[in-house]
Assembly symmetry: C2
Homo-oligomer: 412 residues x 2
């Protein structure tokens, strides 16, 4: 493939983002586009019309994933899929999810206009849902494409207003998937914003994801005894906050000691009774641990648990540790990673091999077909917020990498 | 004075407590008796009737402190005062405050019945207010007796329902004090529960207070940067909770290192945004420091502040420290402490020389006249709670010590 011609990709990209962002726009300048809502359906319908206008075959699957297809000439049962999710969190930004759809459409159109028909099919997908923001279930779109969906679990789900999942799905004109799992899908490529600050800090335009981290979450309850702050000598205290502070320091030290890509976060801390003049009787805190390697994650959390129990025992505190979430790391396809890496090197693009600390549709696909996840920088790491921002030149760099990757997969 | 005769002091005391506790009793088994409320007035009136029935002169001062007087024979311008406050916190117990009034009345009656007229006047006072539970102003009763009251400050105060302090005072039939400060008061003796667990743990019946601690309170704000828990490597974090945990550990270590009677408490911790998967951007926490020696307290807090700033600086966090309360320690009268100590030794009473970590009316009197504060144990240190409890034998021991102290002051 030649160097991508100096089309006005930058204006096309930013105009497309602004156009799509009008759908679900709220008064705070963000986007709220929750699964199967009216505005969600209007967005998918608008995209479908746009895609037909561009000359692509556009169609839904049963659950509402929207596909646009460019037929291949030779390997008609082989499809290269790109795209991302169309839903947002409440008051989300203009890039999380939809950048991957916009990028995919621009890329497919560019390839068609420049190189004509590919030898394999190319499809772009605007997936129904990834965020879990309306119903407490994530990756509804990708799980349906790849077949690993649990009909029973979603059947009982309700949104904040008490509307059931199935009712919402029916209202939007969709239903459970009944068709067979597609066997033509040979690769999935997702373009996404980093949602972290690493690329910006390290001045890289492209992140090539090697792993999506696994995640373990805990709620930890430390119990001592609430006492009068004035009348209880230090030696007679069983101060749950004193214990908790030592536990948090220990967790942080151990995490730094393990080194990247391990991250450990104590984000939530609730003190009881939480009064200036009472020695804390109880503290409940969260622990979120992520790593790309399952064994390292287990080793780390085992070590943490042992250390926390030690601290509790030394300070005469009770401790209970509840591991309420356990997600395994997922590797992206190493051949695809290498291909994209070589592309970047050939074009002297500033790239970084990295991991994703957040979850993405790619992790669902990666368990079934070769999958790649391409990041562009997030300004200050901000995401799930109207302030989400990536410089236009980086957006374009990401789309160029996507174009070249699709070319390598569908034209050669 | 002879050994106090085996009167049935125990039944008298517990019956008196039960009788008085009916006034202001709530459905949770506690007492709510806030300054100048109807139930507060009814309580003072019931006490006044009771005292008159026992043959004492009973009278109010202008603000509603209720006095009962036993006239002395010789030194008619010298009065020994005992008592405590009649108000409670919301849903308080049966001992905080009113035990000192009940003990005083029983003691005065016992002395009158056993030894007749004293040479100095004895008075028992049921002080209007100490807790600051209706209006944000404490020690209203004792400050009026001793003259150090600020009329301007209370004039603007309102309770939770928007009722003004002066209006409440007028409704109860009282007004600001206009009479001169009494010059006849020669000593004040207060019997009170410990409100801490030291006497119970150390198996002592009596605490003789040498100092009431000074108190410094701070609100400390630690500011870092809120970031995604998954996508922000440990090295790129400015985690306010990480910093706070190290600060709390440092404060606790330093407090233990300084030793008794220093206590330092971080009772309140607020994390922002307080979400499992977000690195904390801000933490606001309280620090309460108490000690009997002003200079030690200053040295300690200076050292703490320096250490906290060090930690903040090392972790690239901003810190702001607001010292919003600053109360100096108060010494009780050393002659009275010695007298009571000798009494206890002569009667082989298990006593402890100690400090009070909580504030009491005694600290107001102590700045003007010789003052003593006598503690009896609090079961598990519980106070300001319906579960406040002291064994009857210890209540009686406290009253006996009070009787003997008043005897020494008013009969010799």
């Amino acid at each position: 493939m030649d160097t991508i011609k100096p089309l006005d990709l930058e204006n096309e990209t930013t105009d497309f983002i602004e156009w799509l962002s009008k759908m679900g726009e709220n008064s705070e300048g963000g986007i709220t586009r929750l699964l199967y809502t009216d505005v969600w359906k209007q967005t998918q319908e608008a995209l479908k019309e746009l895609l037909k206008g561009k000359g692509f075959i556009a169609y839904y699957d049963e659950v509402g994933n929207l596909f646009a297809r460019l037929e291949g000439s030779t390997f008609k049962d082989e499809t290269i899929l790109t795209g991302s999710h169309i839903d947002t969190v409440v008051n989300g930004g203009k890039l999380d999810g939809q950048l991957g759809i916009i990028g995919g459409i621009i890329a497919m159109e560019y390839l068609k206009d420049t190189y004509g028909q590919p030898i394999r099919n190319i499809e772009v997908v605007a997936m129904a849902e990834e965020e879990g923001s309306r119903f407490p279930f994530t990756f509804w779109g990708s799980k349906n494409i790849i077949g690993s969906v649990n009909r029973e679990i979603v059947a009982e789900l309700k949104d904040e207003d008490g509307v059931g999942f199935i009712q919402a799905m029916h209202n939007a004109g969709f239903d459970f998937k009944n068709s067979k799992i597609r066997e033509d899908l040979k690769a999935f490529i997702e373009l996404h914003i980093e949602q972290g600050g690493v690329l910006e800090i390290e001045k890289k335009s492209i992140g090539i994801v090697e792993h999506i981290v696994g995640q373990k979450r805990y709620m930890i309850e430390v119990e001592g005894e609430a006492n009068h702050a004035g009348t209880t000598p230090m030696g007679y205290r069983r101060d749950a906050m004193n214990g908790t502070s030592r536990m948090i320091s220990e967790i942080m030290d151990l995490a730094v000691n393990y080194g990247d890509p391990l991250v450990a976060t104590v984000g939530k801390v609730e003190v009881v009774p939480n009064t200036t003049n009472v020695v804390p009787g109880k503290v409940i805190f969260s622990l979120d641990v992520r790593h790309t390697n399952k064994d390292v994650m287990i080793k780390f959390t085992d070590e943490v648990i042992e250390k926390l129990k030690d601290i509790a025992s030394k300070l005469d505190l009770k401790i209970s540790i509840n591991n309420y979430m356990d997600g395994e790391p997922v590797a992206m396809d190493s051949n695809l990673v290498n291909t994209i890496k070589e592309q970047c090197e050939a074009k002297a693009i500033n790239y970084k091999l990295m991991h994703s600390g957040a979850g993405h549709d790619s992790q669902i696909f990666a368990e079934h077909i070769p999958t790649a996840l391409i990041f562009v920088p997030s300004h200050k790491g901000i995401s799930h917020n109207p302030a989400e921002f990536t410089e236009a030149k980086d957006l374009v760099e990401g789309i160029k990498v996507l174009i070249e990757t699709l070319y390598n997969l569908a034209y050669k």
